[in-house]
Symmetry: C2
Subunit: 482 residues, 2 copies
Amino acid sequence: MTRKAAIIGGGVIGGGWAARFLLNGWDVAIFDPDPQAERKIGEVLDNARRALPALYDRALPPEGRLSWHDDLASAVADADWVQESVPETLALKHKVLGQLGALAPANAVIGSSTSGFKPSELNAEGARAIVAHPFNPVYLLPLIELVGEADTCARASTLLREVGCYPLTLRKEIDAHIADRLLEAVWRESLWLVKDGIATTEEIDEAIRMGFGIRWAQMGLFETYRIAGGEAGMKHFMSQFGPALSWPWTKLMDVPEFNDELVDLIASQSDSQSGHMTIRELERLRDDNIVGMLRALRRTGTGAGGVITAHEAALPAPLPADLPVTADRQVPTSWTDYNGHMNDAEYLRAASDATDRFIEMIGADAAYVAAGHSFFTVETHTRYLAEVHAGDRLRITTQVIEGAGKRMHLFHRMTRADGELAATVEVMLLHVDLKSRATCPPGPAVAANLSQYAAAHAGLPAEGIGRHVGERSKASPQTEPA
Amino acid sequence: MTRKAAIIGGGVIGGGWAARFLLNGWDVAIFDPDPQAERKIGEVLDNARRALPALYDRALPPEGRLSWHDDLASAVADADWVQESVPETLALKHKVLGQLGALAPANAVIGSSTSGFKPSELNAEGARAIVAHPFNPVYLLPLIELVGEADTCARASTLLREVGCYPLTLRKEIDAHIADRLLEAVWRESLWLVKDGIATTEEIDEAIRMGFGIRWAQMGLFETYRIAGGEAGMKHFMSQFGPALSWPWTKLMDVPEFNDELVDLIASQSDSQSGHMTIRELERLRDDNIVGMLRALRRTGTGAGGVITAHEAALPAPLPADLPVTADRQVPTSWTDYNGHMNDAEYLRAASDATDRFIEMIGADAAYVAAGHSFFTVETHTRYLAEVHAGDRLRITTQVIEGAGKRMHLFHRMTRADGELAATVEVMLLHVDLKSRATCPPGPAVAANLSQYAAAHAGLPAEGIGRHVGERSKASPQTEPA
């Protein structure tokens, strides 16, 4: 049965939560008194639809139903999750969380997006909320910090994993949880650096993203330092840098005075650093970068990359069809090129993934490969028939032209969501022994599955196969992507 | 004339500097009293050769000459750059930097890798060094913090850009420069979190790499917060979070006592977090992740990605040959698959880049595309003839089979460094008007260049063209990569 989330206020953060749930198939009910809420959250949803599905090599479930509400009661009715993201004042949190506790189903998780308040503070007047602290953009970054009652946090973790998040449950409640304590330390130090004229906001950003920021995105602080310690290990590293604790390496024994002068200084430096781009442009650039880096981390399964592949494995399989559907995915911006459409090489990337999927379907899976056999591609032929753009949904069906002995000849048809045939890809593969790297017949089970498909597909048409490049004929395509 | 760098001590850091210079064509002379130096630095060089060239789509210059020295004088003779990376004690720095100042050429940059000392401290006894503070792995992370005498820093910046670094020159000297102040703040806060039992080292790493670490890798702190401020802007963001400065959001008004108990706690948690991997395995995983993320950032030219593409544009062009060389590059690990070799789709990725390069060569460059015309691929055919592995160097030559009117038929030959023909890729492209997306003849200059190549290549053989997939013939390849 479809799950339901109720989003209570919060603009960008609430919108990010809404997108995370909605694009994972949940129904989402929004209560946000801000007259601009529908526009603001709509813009977040547009960004999310552009970025989140591009993290995956398979389609996310169909979107849930989005509804807007003027009263809390109808918003939270039947909700599995209620997320409060109102402004960061304790009195307001008490009021809203008190009402939510009374109105929401007893088994619903009530999460607060608070950056700094502890559950004991949030629930001081009888509410039953836990801290569920997300990170912007909520639809892309998997981390959710959970603090509060143990059973509720456990239920919350299960639900969050269903929507591709990484729940991190704190052992004890503490002001600002974990990540914001680190961010606050860096923020304070950075304010000093700007105030003292050591560096501008842009120089500080470069000092982060040209160096340790890239390390932290994939391993964090301690594993990075473990490597720095080298063969001598973590103790050696600490003995090296331990003394620095007593050196004047930070000004954090003191706090800069937060006055208009400092605010104006930061704001004006930020304007000259980033003022040439609108917030929307910055958001799209940020999302494209994050999608690209997370897709890179998928390769090794490190950190957030591992979260995505684990989530993807749990996504619903495509519906059955006359021909097996071997791909159903959204085109990431990183697949497009200077001609403003999907680069020619990415057509084969999508087809190659489809070939892998079909090979799995006939039983040549990871275990089969680990046991020493696989299929190698010996030849491919691609006809580019229609342009494909970032965000387009691609569906690939696979037809077996020949499947006997060690030979497997496949014919992929790639269609856009509008039904247009974007490309056909012919692939000849040979079955090989991975030790000798020489060809050999597949195992009996794989051979049987393959010949079944071959027999079933034998009668079907396969327009445009057997062409060689440059052949002039009706089947010759007219224009397509470079 | 070949430049020379002298590397004075430093194990992993010195080795990283050596790799950065050596792989960019500099001669490198090493002085390191550590009896293990040759092995340690050799291992860093192995890692660097595996990772650094994979950042680029073009080959780096041929490696320079590496030499080992027992005396400072011969090491620093004729050096353009002398880099000191001895242990972090001021007395030792004074001794070594004093000798280097006397022995090194007057115009040589003398840089110190110090994490925290100021130039005024380093040069207190008459040395002439500047701070040139790198970040591990030095061969991959572009950031170098420069502090010291202005003219020397300016010369240092020029040299560092030549080897693909991003020099950041500080406006004033300060203990620990910029990045280490931020790192020290996070380090101190993290020690508190572990000491107080709020989180383990692993939980802190997850709190970083599952969330803000991914943001920082591409935009840093202030630009990220500018986005968080949304339409209301940076001032709005600061007005929201300014008050937190007076809240108990960090414990940095105090410093944790650095005793054996704390060291053991951190070390044992780090062991259970990462102890299942050796340091070498962690280094290779880190490097694969960083290469993958930096290649993703190349797409948008953001931060370190922009540094790589700028550096690449300045790399030497391939040598002339009978057929134009349209690619000469190293295969990144991310291009390989579960069969332990380059994935079939990446053969077309490499060929597609080669096609783009050839299109530039005939004058259809970025300006030509911006003016509204380009070539679209309509058909490709690939024969997979030999396996290619991570780290292999690939060279592609391009032959024009047909180049007249709006048609361009190319034949790419892809060879490994051992001369083995790995693949041939046939590509048919049509020239198009980017507004109407319809075919049309190219401009006169492009047409003339193309027909010149066509005429020059007309007589040459083109083995295996005109095949269709599955065709049975001598030309049929025997086994290859999936």
